[in-house]
C-alpha cells in the first residue's frame, strides 16, 4: 500500500504546473550531473585543452582560461554542488528534527532556551560567521566538511516549523493515549510523531539544499572554499578572478550562472508546490471549487 501511495502522490503533484516544470528541470540537471562520471577529462587538472576557445563541436561549451573544457567542468561542478548541499541539508535536518521535537514536546524552559538559541541563529548574519570560520580552515575544506559546517548553521528556521507541528500534534488525542498507556517519552516522540513530521521535513530539505548551494557559491566567490574542487561556486570564482567578462570569455561565466539559476528556480518551484500540497487549506481548495 505504501508504494502505491507514493506513486499516487507523485502523480497528484505532477498535476501542478509548478511541480512539473521544477521536476523536469531537476531531472535534466541531475542527468547532467551524472554525466560527470563519463567525463574524458580530470577536473582537477589544468591545461588539458587549449585555452579560451569559444563553443565548438569538440568543446560544446568552449574552454576556459585554465585550459579546461567548460562542459565537463560544469558536470562536475553540478554534481559536487548538489552533493554538498545534500550533505548540508541532511545534517541540518537531523539537528532541526531533534531541536524541534524536543522543544515542541517538552515545552517550558527547555522550549524557551532552544527557541532563543534558534532565533539567535536566524538573526545573526550567518554569512559573516561562515566567512570567519572558512577563512580559518580554508585548506582542509573537503566537500564533506563544508557540508557539515553548512549543516550546523542551517537548521534554525526549520526547527521552528517542526516545533509548531509538534505542538499541534501534542494536543491531539493519540498523544494522550500514548502517554496514558505509559510509553516512554522518546518512543512516543519517535513512533507517533515522526510520520507526521516527515512530509514537512522533506519540503524543508529541498529549501535547505537551495540555501546550502547559495552559501557554497557565496563562500567560493569570496575565495574561501577549496578552489581545486570544481563546484558551481568555484567555477564562478575562477571566472571572475580571470576577468572572464572583460576578456570576452562569456561562455565561462554564463554557464555557471545559467545552471545555477535553473537549479535554484527548479528547487524553489518544487518546494513551493510540495508545501502547497501539504497545506491542508489549499488541499480543500483543490477539492472544492466547481463553478456554474
Amino acid at each position: 500500500m505504501r508504494r502505491g501511495g507514493s506513486l499516487k502522490i507523485l502523480k497528484d503533484l505532477l498535476r501542478d504546473r509548478k511541480f512539473k516544470f521544477g521536476f523536469i528541470v531537476l531531472c535534466i540537471l541531475a542527468s547532467l550531473a551524472l554525466l560527470s562520471f563519463l567525463s574524458p577529462y580530470d577536473p582537477t587538472l589544468w591545461n588539458v585543452a587549449p585555452r579560451d576557445l569559444p563553443p565548438s563541436l569538440e568543446h560544446i561549451l568552449g574552454t576556459n582560461s585554465k585550459g579546461q573544457d567548460v562542459f565537463w567542468e560544469m558536470t562536475f561542478a553540478l554534481r559536487n554542488s548538489i552533493v554538498v548541499s545534500m550533505f548540508a541539508a541532511f545534517f541540518s535536518r537531523i539537528i532541526a528534527i531533534l531541536v524541534g521535537l524536543i522543544a515542541g514536546y517538552k515545552g517550558g524552559i527547555t522550549d524557551r532556551i532552544l527557541m532563543f538559541i534558534s532565533d539567535s541563529f536566524l538573526i545573526m548574519p550567518l554569512l559573516l560567521l561562515l566567512l570567519l570560520i572558512a577563512s580559518l580552515v580554508r585548506e582542509s575544506l573537503s566537500l564533506f566538511t563544508l557540508g557539515l559546517i553548512l549543516g550546523i548553521f542551517g537548521w534554525a528556521w526549520d526547527a521552528r516549523v517542526i516545533r509548531s507541528q509538534v505542538l499541534s500534534l501534542r494536543e491531539r488525542e493519540f498523544s494522550f493515549t500514548a502517554v496514558l498507556s505509559g510509553s516512554k517519552t522518546f518512543s512516543i516522540v519517535m513512533k507517533e510523531y515522526l510520520p507526521f513530521i516527515l512530509p514537512i521535513v522533506f519540503s524543508t530539505f529541498i529549501n535547505n539544499m537551495s540555501w546550502a548551494i547559495g552559501m557554497e557559491i557565496t563562500l567560493a566567490i569570496f575565495g574561501l572554499s577549496n578552489l581545486d574542487i570544481p563546484t558551481l561556486g568555484t567555477m564562478l570564482h575562477w571566472a571572475i578572478h580571470y576577468q572572464a567578462i572583460l576578456l570576452g570569455v562569456w561562455w565561462w561565466i554564463l554557464t555557471p550562472i545559467l545552471i545555477s539559476v535553473f537549479l535554484f528556480v527548479s528547487l524553489y518551484l518544487l518546494s513551493v508546490s510540495i508545501g502547497e500540497y501539504l497545506d491542508p487549506r489549499t488541499r480543500l481548495q483543490r477539492i472544492g471549487m466547481v463553478k456554474k
Partner: protein, 335 residues
C-alpha cells in the same frame, strides 16, 4: 508606562542578550579552530626568505598576540575583548597597517547603511502593495502573470542577479559604471556632482537588491493575503458591497502589514548578507568589499571588527522595527 514595561523591556533584554551571544560566538569560534593565526602570520613572514633571529621572532610573536587579543588565559582574553569593545577599539588592521580597524569600518559603514536602508524600505513597500493586490485579485490574469514573474525571480541569489546586471548594463550596454561608490578621487561633498555620481554608481547594486527583495516580499505578502481573505471581516466587507479597491487597501493590505513588519525583523540578517555579497560584485565601497579584502589579505582583526559591528547593526535595526510596530497594531497599543 505599563505598556512600556510589558513591551519594551523584554525586547531590550533580548537585544542585549543577542549581541552578547553573538560577540561571544565571535570570540569562541576562532579559538576552536585548529589553526593559530599568529603562527600562520609568522610562517608567512619567515617563508618569504627573510631571516629573523629567535629573539626577534619571539618579540614578533608577543606583539602579534597582543594585537590579536590572544594574550593571557582564555578568560583574560574574553574580558579584554569586552574592555576594548567599549572603547571602540578593534585593534589595527593588517591589510592597511597601522590604520585602526574602527577607522576603516567608519569609512565603509555609511555606504552599506545607505544602500541597505534605501533598498530594504523600497522593496518592502513595493512588495507589500504589489503582493497585496496580486493576492486580493488572484483570479485576474495580470495578477497571475506578476505572481509568475516573482516566482521565477525570487529564488535567484543576489550575486547572480548582480553579476547579470553588471554584465548587461556595465559591459554590454555600458550605461552604468563598472564599480566603486563614486567616481575615483572624489571626496565626500554635498554638491550635485558628487551626489549624481553616487546615484549612478549605486543604481545597479540597488537594483539587484530591490528586484529580488520585491519578489520575496511580493510572494510572502500574497500568502498572507490569501489567509486574510478568509477572515470574517473581509468576507463581510465584500458581502456588504464595499468597493474592491478599498477592501484591498484598508482591509487586506493594512492587516497584512502587521505580520510583514515582524517578517522584516526576522529577515534583516539575510538581507544584510545579501547586501554584502552584492557589494563585492560591484566593488561597492561598503562593508562587503572591506570584508572581501580582509579575507584575501588574512586580516583577522578587520574581519572580527566587521562581524561585531554587523551583529550590533542588525540587532539595533531589529530593535528599531520592534519599537515602531505598536504604531501600526492597535491591539498592542491599547490593551
Amino acid at each position: 508606562m505599563n505598556f512600556l514595561k510589558r513591551y519594551l523591556l523584554p525586547r531590550l533584554l533580548v537585544y542585549f542578550l543577542v549581541i552578547f551571544l553573538g560577540i561571544t560566538l565571535i570570540f569562541i569560534i576562532p579559538r576552536l579552530m585548529p589553526t593559530d593565526p599568529v603562527q600562520e602570520m609568522i610562517n608567512t613572514i619567515t617563508s618569504q626568505g627573510a631571516y629573523l633571529d629567535p629573539e626577534a621572532i619571539k618579540k614578533l610573536e608577543d606583539t602579534l598576540r597582543e594585537l590579536y587579543g590572544l594574550k593571557g588565559s582564555l578568560w583574560e582574553q574574553y574580558i579584554n575583548l569586552w574592555k576594548r569593545l567599549f572603547k571602540g577599539d578593534f585593534g589595527p588592521s593588517f591589510f592597511q597597517f597601522p590604520t585602526p580597524v574602527i577607522d576603516l569600518i567608519k569609512q565603509s559603514l555609511p555606504w552599506t547603511l545607505g544602500l541597505l536602508t534605501i533598498t530594504t524600505i523600497t522593496s518592502w513597500v513595493l512588495g507589500l502593495i504589489l503582493g497585496g493586490f496580486v493576492g486580493y485579485f488572484y483570479k485576474k490574469k495580470w495578477a497571475k502573470l506578476i505572481d509568475g514573474i516573482a516566482m521565477v525571480i525570487r529564488p535567484i541569489p543576489y550575486y547572480i542577479l548582480a553579476l547579470t546586471l553588471l554584465i548587461l548594463f556595465a559591459y554590454i550596454f555600458p550605461i552604468f559604471p563598472i564599480g566603486g561608490g563614486a567616481s575615483i578621487g572624489r571626496t565626500f561633498q554635498f554638491n550635485w556632482c558628487f551626489i549624481w555620481s553616487v546615484i549612478k554608481h549605486g543604481f545597479l547594486p540597488a537594483m539587484s537588491l530591490i528586484i529580488i527583495g520585491t519578489a520575496v516580499w511580493l510572494q510572502t505578502t500574497r500568502l498572507i493575503v490569501q489567509n486574510i481573505l478568509a477572515e470574517d471581516f473581509v468576507i463581510y466587507a465584500k458581502s456588504a458591497g464595499l468597493r474592491e479597491r478599498k477592501i484591498a487597501l484598508r482591509y487586506t493590505i493594512r492587516n497584512a502589514m502587521l505580520p510583514q513588519i515582524t517578517g522584516l525583523t526576522l529577515s534583516l540578517g539575510q538581507i544584510f548578507s545579501g547586501a554584502l555579497i552584492t557589494e563585492v560584485v560591484y566593488s561597492y565601497p561598503g562593508l562587503g568589499t572591506l570584508a572581501y579584502n580582509a579575507i584575501n589579505s588574512g586580516d583577522y582583526n578587520l574581519l572580527m571588527g566587521i562581524t561585531t559591528i554587523s551583529i550590533i547593526a542588525i540587532a539595533t535595526g531589529m530593535l528599531v522595527i520592534d519599537l515602531i510596530y505598536p504604531f501600526f497594531d492597535p491591539r498592542i497599543r491599547y490593551r
